[in-house]
């Protein structure tokens, strides 16, 4: 894709936007319906592409991608008109007669960068937001999930309005070309390193951005209060680590914090569940995704090659380069300054870090960059409150993992290095909208004291007016208020 093609494509999108076509609720709903149709009619093909790119099982693919998109599109479809309606803002009596409202309007031509680990949902979910808000869109799927990228490039023009929504495939060079253009908004899901590149490019054009990045999302396990539920806890931890794309998920559990005395109990429970989910030989399990690409495989292999880290492996550790397979691996207390404990793991390696007291987990997390999500398994209400008020993260989930992703009413986004901006549900609509303040006034009555030449009466009037002291104003006007 060369520069001229990119510019031509953008020009067409600009023209479509200027025509006003995408402003109508009818157009937006038609596109959303078409998207639902696209997913319904091509489910098998999507499953196939996800399996080819990532080894995802159709159930995982449905749960994390297809189902999410169908739900999200449906949710937006039934609410978009409500979201489009201006929101009234109360105007002080002083300005009577007046009314005020906040009117959402589309930004214009927006760019969406999708990531490779959930290549369908991380492309289409933001797209749903961009369309609901009435924008024209360029969608750039990741080249590291090529089958899904090519599926989107083929299917989207068949179902959606090709003059308003375009898919651009390619690698780093295409990303660079796209980033040179002036967009009205950029939505990016991916790594912090690229997030910086995107924001720096956006700054040249004063383009607002939403950055959905990652971090090391910890799971805190308070065994004392949850020991009777350990089976479910273990299932949810295993489900939250190896379930989503074999650990390659921004909201997946990165590492676990547990008290020293309970670590063996935890490791035992996890191993049992791993066996239950993935069988004796996980390499043959169809329920476990592969490592997404050779880059990631090499990086993960390197993490456990560090001798001090390798020595801390208590379960798993085997890898198969040809199959891009890494076994579900548990490590007990790898060195805190090793790469596996300083970088986001994004793979099937689960460090368990032990503490003397589970309360120490708060300090542990606070001394590290803010994660996208904190998972806390505890029934202790005081501890829950402490975690909530003494730590910061994009979000917090108590006693489960991953499910916050399907809550349409919860904003999904990071803080600090895990990102800024948010989406899902109405937040998607908002993230792709400019909230325009609109105020209407009449010509009467006139507030004379607004205008010079100034005198102390006018000042007194304004003092009272600006503190909405209407009685005082009345008295002043009737000549009954002292002037100071």
């Amino acid at each position: 894709m060369d520069q001229i093609k990119v510019e031509k494509g953008m020009a067409e999108l600009k023209e479509t936007f200027s025509s006003g076509k995408t402003r109508s609720a009818v157009w937006r709903k038609t596109q959303l319906r078409a998207l639902i149709e696209l997913v319904h009619e091509n489910e098998e093909e999507i499953f196939k592409a996800l399996h080819q790119d990532l080894g995802k099982h159709p159930v995982e693919a449905y749960r994390d991608e297809v189902g999410v998109i169908l739900k999200s599109a449906d949710y937006s479809l039934s609410r978009v008109e409500k979201w489009m309606a201006p929101k009234k803002g109360h105007i002080p009596l002083l300005f009577f007669p007046a009314n005020g409202e906040v009117m959402p309007e589309p930004f214009g031509v927006v760019l969406i960068f999708a990531s490779w680990n959930f290549p369908i949902s991380l492309a289409l979910d933001p797209l749903i937001g961009a369309i609901s808000a009435g924008n024209t869109v360029v969608l750039k799927p990741s080249d590291m999930s090529p089958k899904c990228s090519s599926f989107l490039a083929n299917a989207i023009p068949k179902y959606l309005d090709p003059k308003a929504i375009k898919v651009v495939e390619g690698g780093a060079d295409v990303c660079e070309q796209l980033l040179q253009q002036k967009w009205d908004k950029i939505f990016f899901t991916g790594s912090q390193r690229i997030g910086r590149v995107v924001m720096t490019a956006a700054a040249k054009h004063l383009t607002p951005v939403t950055l959905e990045m990652g971090g090391k999302s910890p799971a805190i396990l308070d065994v004392t209060s949850t020991s009777s539920n350990m089976k479910v806890v273990a299932k949810r931890i295993v489900g939250g680590k190896w379930g989503p794309c074999c650990g390659q998920a921004c909201i997946g559990i990165d590492y676990v914090l547990v008290e020293d005395e309970h670590s063996s109990f935890l490791i035992g429970s996890l191993r049992r569940i791993i066996r239950e989910f993935y069988g004796e030989n996980p390499e043959e399990s169809i329920s476990l995704s592969r490592i997404g690409n050779k880059n990631n495989f090499d990086r993960l292999s390197r993490l456990i090659k560090d001798p001090l880290v390798a020595a801390s492996i208590v379960h798993g550790g085997s890898t198969d380069e040809e199959k891009l397979f890494i076994e579900p691996t548990i490590l007990l207390n790898p060195p805190l300054d090793s790469e596996i404990m300083t970088e986001e793991i994004f793979g099937p390696l689960l460090p368990i870090i032990t503490l003397n007291n589970i309360q120490e987990s708060i300090e542990f997390m606070n001394s590290r960059p803010k994660p996208l999500v904190i998972y806390a398994f505890t029934k202790d209400e005081t501890f829950k409150k402490q975690i909530l008020t003494h730590t910061s993260s994009g979000g917090v989930v108590f006693n489960d993992t991953m499910v916050q992703f399907i809550c349409d009413d919860l904003p999904f986004g990071g803080v600090g290095h895990s990102g800024f901006g948010r989406y899902h549900g109405k937040y998607s609509f908002d993230t792709f909208s400019h909230e325009k303040a609109v105020m209407h006034r009449g010509f009467y009555p006139e507030i004379e004291p607004r205008y010079p030449p100034w005198n102390s009466f006018k000042l007194q009037f304004l003092r009272l007016a600006y503190s909405f002291n209407y009685l005082g104003l009345l008295l002043l006007l009737l000549g009954l208020k002292k002037k100071y």
Partner: protein, 488 residues
């Protein structure tokens, strides 16, 4: 203390300042309601007890008339503070969020928490308000804050240092004075949020610096705010309101001030006559001598405005005013009629007392003229035609819009104040300020009951059907799937 800060504030100083503040907020002091309220009350006291000093500083910096200082800066800052005090408890409450059957049983909420240590970079034209208002938002949201006032309004900058030192908690609220080197040193640091008010050019620099640390930013920039004047209006009222939004607003040096006017060819002469008359009523026959109008802030800006005025084919379009006095940095309200579209005065944000009037055949043509320029911070329309109003709101994009008046909409705290495209990103005022400086943390509470095994591997076809039903169809679909029926 102020002297020491003026000596040398370099990157090392900036780094240790941020480090110190981060250390100070570890105790979560600034998170507490009590701390926030005590600071806000101190700000309110600070404003009330120092009105005269504030007005004097504004006069020293801008020759701002006392009354204008009061209306546009002091009273707005005070109201902003009072609103925060009144509403803070309510703002700080977590917001309940709905959960769906797919995550049953569960409950959810959105918790507002401070971002941490934030930077407010202020500007020179409303140097008091545009410093204190964002600081109020930052404090209300529980952050530690560093304020960098503009060096182009030195009296106000220095007053802010003294006032903050006297009234506010130094361990969390600081002022750093200086110019480009000091600002650059600050921008090298990692902030949790930056709110910048100023030009688009520097806005780009701020965002680029912020990108290194993935710091979210609010940029309050400017643009050319147009005022469309239809012929079916109460001309006197419309004219006075245009004057209020131009020359009463720091003599045109305001981001939301009326930059230029668009009206029909037929109506222009009437509008110009009305402006002539009302300007005289407001500022007298000799506006250069009027005490009720600000001066131009600096020689730089004065020469910049002169350059705009003296361009070929522009200087001969002056229909009113044009007088200037470089010594006193005074420039009279000046109106120009139909300057060339490509003239500098129609490309740059004017930020001064020069008002170009552009004429069109039909008032509807004005929309295209506006849309051909970058999106402004505000757009104004004077008309009684309801259809035109609707069309204006639908078809013109701007940060905010006001129909049949100017500038007032930014005093309404239920409306967000911010730009779009070249005029900025993000917004504040009222609760929007609190939100601007908060992280909205999503919290989901789940229990151990009702663990659906369909979530977990090994994955099977029947699990897939149930999963589909649960995610897409809610409880009925799930029940049907459980007893063996499904849509497939």
């Amino acid at each position: 203390m102020a002297e020491e800060e003026k000596k040398s504030f370099d990157e090392n100083e900036a780094a240790s300042l941020v480090k110190e503040l981060r250390g100070n907020i570890k105790s979560n002091k600034t998170k507490s309601y009590d701390w926030r309220v005590s600071q806000l009350e101190s700000i309110r006291k600070m404003i009330v007890e120092n009105e005269k000093e504030i007005a004097k500083a504004l006069y020293d910096d801008l020759s701002k008339p006392e009354f204008e200082a009061f209306i546009s800066e002091i009273s707005n800052a005070k109201s902003s503070c009072e609103l925060a005090l009144k509403e803070l408890k309510h703002w700080m409450k977590p917001e309940k969020a709905k959960t769906s059957i797919s995550t049953f049983p569960s409950s959810a909420e959105i918790v507002s928490e401070p971002l941490g240590v934030v930077l407010v970079i202020s500007t020179w034209n409303f140097p008091f308000l545009l410093s204190v208002d964002p600081v109020i938002g930052a404090i209300a949201a529980g952050n530690a804050v560093v304020l960098k006032p503009s060096e182009i309004s030195p009296a106000t900058s220095s007053l802010l240092v003294n006032l903050f030192d006297k009234y506010l908690d130094k361990s969390a609220v600081r002022v750093v004075e200086g110019a480009v080197p000091e600002t650059s040193a600050l921008l090298e640091q990692k902030w949790d949020k930056i709110l910048y008010t100023g030009s688009s050019r520097v806005g780009r620099i701020v965002m680029t610096a912020a990108a290194k640390h993935l710091t979210p930013v609010i940029l309050e920039l400017g643009g050319k705010c147009p005022a469309i004047v239809d012929s079916n209006v109460n001309l006197q009222v419309a004219t006075r309101r245009i004057i209020a939004g131009k020359w009463q607003c720091n003599n045109g040096q305001a981001c939301i001030g009326v930059d230029y006017v668009i009206t029909t060819k037929d109506f222009a002469p009437k509008l110009i006559d009305a402006l002539r008359k009302e300007l005289e009523d407001c500022f007298g026959r000799n506006p250069m001598e009027s005490k009720d109008i600000s001066r131009i802030v600096s020689l730089n800006h004065f020469t910049r405005l002169e350059r705009l005025l003296d361009e070929d084919n522009v200087s001969n379009k002056i229909v009113l005013g044009g007088q200037r006095d470089q010594n006193k940095l005074r420039m009279a309200p000046t109106i120009l009629l139909d300057v060339p579209k490509d003239s500098q005065i129609m490309q740059d944000e004017i930020f001064g007392p020069l008002l170009p009037i552009i004429t069109v055949e039909n008032v509807k043509d004005s929309f295209d003229a506006i849309n051909s320029k970058p999106k402004p911070l505000a757009a104004y329309l004077f008309t009684n035609d309801e259809k035109l109003k609707e069309s204006f709101v639908q078809n013109v994009s701007a940060g905010g819009m006001l129909i049949n008046d100017t500038i007032l909409h930014v005093t309404v705290d239920t409306l967000p104040f911010g730009g779009v495209e070249e005029s900025g990103m993000g917004s504040y005022h009222g609760k929007f300020s609190f939100d601007a400086f908060s992280h909205k943390k999503a919290v989901l509470y789940r229990s151990f009951n009702g663990d659906a095994s369909i979530r977990y591997p090994p994955y099977t076809e029947s699990k897939k059907k149930l999963m589909k039903a649960l995610i897409s169809d809610g409880i009925f679909g799930m029940l049907l799937a459980l007893i063996g029926w499904s849509k497939d």
